[in-house]
């Protein structure tokens, strides 16, 4: 997927780049959801590699 790092290693930094400030209490949940979304993305991209 181009050269964008996903999920971002620096979640707070990635959020700040779009004007979001993620409360500390949300970071674990956001990280878990990003990891799940990254897995879904890998699954979708696998189709394009095999198509």
């Amino acid at each position: 997927m181009n050269d964008v790092e996903f999920p971002p290693a620096d979640i707070a930094g990635a959020a700040a780049s779009i004007g979001l400030q993620i409360p500390a209490e949300c970071l674990p949940g956001v990280a878990a959801n990003l990891a799940a979304l990254a897995e879904h993305l890998r699954n979708v991209e696998a189709h394009e590699r095999t198509a």
């Binding site: 997927m1 181009n2 964008v4 996903f6 999920p7 971002p8 979640i11 990635a14 959020a15 779009i18 004007g19 979001l20 400030q21 993620i22 409360p23 949300c26 949940g29 956001v30 878990a32 959801n33 990003l34 799940a36 979304l37 897995e39 879904h40 993305l41 699954n43 979708v44 991209e45 696998a46 189709h47 394009e48 198509a51």
Partner: protein
């Protein structure tokens, strides 16, 4: 009592719309404290609408095919004079809607009487109707279990008999999952087939609205009143979905599909390609579009969001555009593949939730022997279908005295007539129906 029977009585003057409205309000007030299906009872509006229907009957006019039918709507439909909460406490003080949603307007024009708004997962993002602000909707068949979501309040209100008709919305399964868990009928129409105006969005690419009812005929009547049309003749070449759609299904549900296959003289097994990736793409698109929709409020007051959806929306806002584009490309490929299958079939049968309703205090489901959170996994059989805009009639297996199990009758875009025709046939055969 069917919708047409209620309307027939009202149109003939045998029973007034006001009586029906008062009864529905009384049932709702009696049952809602233990079910938490309804967020607001609209007594003044309901009685005013009912009086107007009765006045038309008295004047010799026809109030319409739903004359005096009480109904409720998921709390994401605009109702004039009320804030549209979309199940979110942070919207409880939103500016009141200035007009009714188009679907509400059409039901009112057909004589129906709006009596309540219904509970839902906040911002329609969930399959459980576990809502931090408005409570957890309980399953009328067993109050220790969830009703499903996100239109759980609308489904529970019909299943409990508060109202004979309600409206929900379905993006990834939010009509079909609660219909299955509550043992009633629900419709996810062809994408764009029913009016979305005045319905609070979630994922614009595949949001739809749809009714809940207790019979195939009632569901079809509501769909037609709402503006539904079909481009088929109701003839059906039927198959059953295998592969992904046969894994992790409750044995009694699989047996129910077997019985339907026997009744229909055998059903070919059909496999859709790469369904797991379709589900992944649906997850990605939902997260991205949901995150983008709520980005201004996520920036301004993230902690005001329901904790059940907040972290998912924040994560969705951080997904790069290239990921969304990859999901869209996959969707285009998947849609083409699915449409090719619908050149050979008119209706495909699949599970809806696949399991009985999970416990409120232990909201997990077992998929292939693995315990997984119900919130994310109740939609495994529904997400890949709505993702490409297919119409689905959700129907309950007839299981008197048991917890409900539900099926999806899936059609090609514009193929609702074949779905309703098959639902009526299976209902007449005693294979599906409200227990």
């Amino acid at each position: 009592m069917s919708l047409s029977a209620i309307a027939g009585d009202v149109r003939a003057g045998r029973r007034s719309a006001v009586e029906h409205a008062r009864d529905a309000i009384a049932r709702t007030r009696r049952d809602n404290p233990r079910l938490v299906a309804v967020t607001r009872v609209l007594e003044d509006r309901a009685l005013a609408e009912a009086v107007a229907v009765d006045a038309r009957v008295a004047a010799g006019e026809d109030p319409g095919p739903l004359a005096g039918v009480p109904y409720a709507v998921k709390d994401l439909f605009d109702v004039a004079g009320l804030p549209t909460t979309a199940g979110a406490a942070m919207r409880a003080d939103a500016a009141p809607a200035t007009r009714d949603a188009e679907a509400v307007r059409r039901l009112q024009a057909a004589g129906a009487v709006l009596v309540a708004t219904c509970n839902m997962d906040a911002f329609a993002y969930g399959f459980a109707t576990i809502n931090a602000a408005y409570g957890t909707t309980r399953n009328p068949h067993d109050r220790s279990r969830i009703a499903g979501g996100s239109s759980g309040g609308s489904a529970a209100a019909v299943a409990a008999g508060m109202v004979p008709l309600s409206l929900g919305s379905d993006t990834n399964g939010s009509v079909r999952v609660p219909a299955g868990l509550c043992g009633i009928y629900g419709l996810k129409p062809t994408h764009g087939g029913l009016p979305m105006a005045g319905a609070y969005p979630f994922v614009d690419s595949f949001d739809d609205i749809g009714p809940f009812a207790v019979s195939a005929a009632d569901l079809e009547l509501a769909w037609r009143v709402l503006g539904g049309t079909s481009n088929d003749a109701g003839q059906g070449r039927v198959g059953r979905l295998g592969g992904w759609f046969a894994r992790g299904v409750a044995p009694e549900l699989a047996a129910g599909i077997d019985a339907i296959a026997t009744h229909l003289g055998g059903l070919p097994v059909v496999e859709l390609p790469e369904v797991d990736r379709a589900r992944s793409a649906a997850f990605l698109m939902s997260a991205v579009e949901g995150g983008a929709l709520h980005l201004p409020e996520l920036r301004a007051r993230p902690l005001a969001f329901d904790p059940q959806v907040r972290d998912r929306l924040l994560a969705g806002a951080l997904v790069p555009a290239a990921a969304y584009q990859a999901a869209q490309r996959f969707r285009a490929w998947f849609r083409t593949a699915v449409m090719a299958i619908f050149e050979r079939f008119d209706v495909l049968i699949a599970p809806s939730a696949g399991v009985e309703a999970p416990l409120v205090d232990d909201p997990f489901v077992e998929i292939d022997g693995e315990r997984v959170p119900a919130r994310a996994h109740l939609g495994i059989y529904t997400q890949p279908l709505s993702f490409v805009g297919l119409p689905v009639v959700a129907v309950p297996l007839l299981r008197r005295g048991k917890l409900p199990l539900g099926l999806q009758l899936v059609g090609r875009p514009g193929g609702e007539a074949a779905l309703f025709a098959l639902a009526r046939e299976l209902e007449a055969a005693g294979l599906i129906g409200v227990g």
